[in-house]
Symmetry: none
Amino acid sequence: MPTLDEARAIIAGALAEARRRGAKPLAVIVLDAGGHPVAFEREDGASLFRHDIARAKAFGALGMGSDTRAIAERAAGNPAFFTSVVVASGGNLALSAGGVIVRDLAGAIVGAVGISGDTSDVDEACAIAGIDAAGLNHGANS
Amino acid sequence: MPTLDEARAIIAGALAEARRRGAKPLAVIVLDAGGHPVAFEREDGASLFRHDIARAKAFGALGMGSDTRAIAERAAGNPAFFTSVVVASGGNLALSAGGVIVRDLAGAIVGAVGISGDTSDVDEACAIAGIDAAGLNHGANS
Amino acid sequence: MPTLDEARAIIAGALAEARRRGAKPLAVIVLDAGGHPVAFEREDGASLFRHDIARAKAFGALGMGSDTRAIAERAAGNPAFFTSVVVASGGNLALSAGGVIVRDLAGAIVGAVGISGDTSDVDEACAIAGIDAAGLNHGANS
Amino acid sequence: MPTLDEARAIIAGALAEARRRGAKPLAVIVLDAGGHPVAFEREDGASLFRHDIARAKAFGALGMGSDTRAIAERAAGNPAFFTSVVVASGGNLALSAGGVIVRDLAGAIVGAVGISGDTSDVDEACAIAGIDAAGLNHGANS
């Protein structure tokens, strides 16, 4: 949970949205609720850190219990604390939108999606499109 | 290279072989020639280390320039050295069959596959089935 | 790719430019497209971190798909995010000019050069001189 | 110390010996007495871990004050201790011949050479040939 089938649906939906938008090549990861990878794909041409950044967005969302958009906004006002969390977590937090918590229809956290490759706004929009395509929920208050 | 399409074909072929054999749940990763992830899938029920072991098999094959079956055989006769390589490489070497180098039709290394979840013999057989299914070559002397 | 001969030509060209300019002692590294070292030289008198900084400039350029001059400029406006990338990448990103992507004549990324020792402007100028001397291309839009 | 010129002479001498012998592609590193890289070259076709293994051979020789041939022999009789040293040193010790201490003509340690790529005997022979070619001394009792 998410099942591999759900993770595949999330990635397929995210990449379909990316191609509709003409986004730069993306890396997309789906983690389970424990932060462990379920599925990952890197589009041809995406640069080498995209995997690590996507994973750190998804893991960071789970780690703080909040999408990385909100975490990044809080970090802008308190960078020293969030830098200390980045280091304390072993680099498992990327302070940029594009890490989105995945919830089941009852609202329980089942995992997270992380995307890196384009602007953080595009990354996040593709993550949300993927979660929608898989018939799951997203967001802190979904 | 492998392209994402090739990596997907490798994973699909490996998991089809796993289901034909009734294998335990597997994790399958495809790395590019530099050791960076292109695609990954973990079947439902696979335990948490399967990702890390699969990655360390694939990376270790690239790192030593040999499938991990041959590396593991050499390690049995010289465990202290291979333990030191495991540490020197930052854990990027798993001493068990199931890490297989992927070559293009001209014999050039284009990446590696790593699989973990069942016995190392089954893991390796599924990796080779996946490479075959994608129309690529494997093995040091292919 | 770059071949060892090309990497030697890049380093020789970079250090020749450094001596023409009377630069401080430099460390120069050439990485392949996967971020693995091909060749390295540290001039007498260069301090101990120069190797690590040069490598983190070159690796960071590959990791983000952009010369470190552009990355450093973006980091000035968003330091918390780029600090999180530094940690997520295991320290493989130095936020200063002097990491330059190397392309072949068709524009494909074949590796990167990283230089540390003088100001970042001088470091970068020597990196570009080295790439030019080797008959290769540089820059995101070359 | 070794100077960059000396390090270049060591590498050139080592690779000349390797080509005379028809050795597999090698990675050769020269470290200063503090264990910091002075120069490195990886021949085309050498696999990805050769850098890390060569460095761990050279650093390990300095770390224990002995060529890695002798360290590996001691490790065979006491693997648990040497494995603990491998981990305690952060992976800076490879338990295989091919790490050779470099001494000046007065016998003082000035650095170390590490080579990886062929058998440990060939690696070590090339390291010694390189030190000889540079007009320096090697060995614990030189």
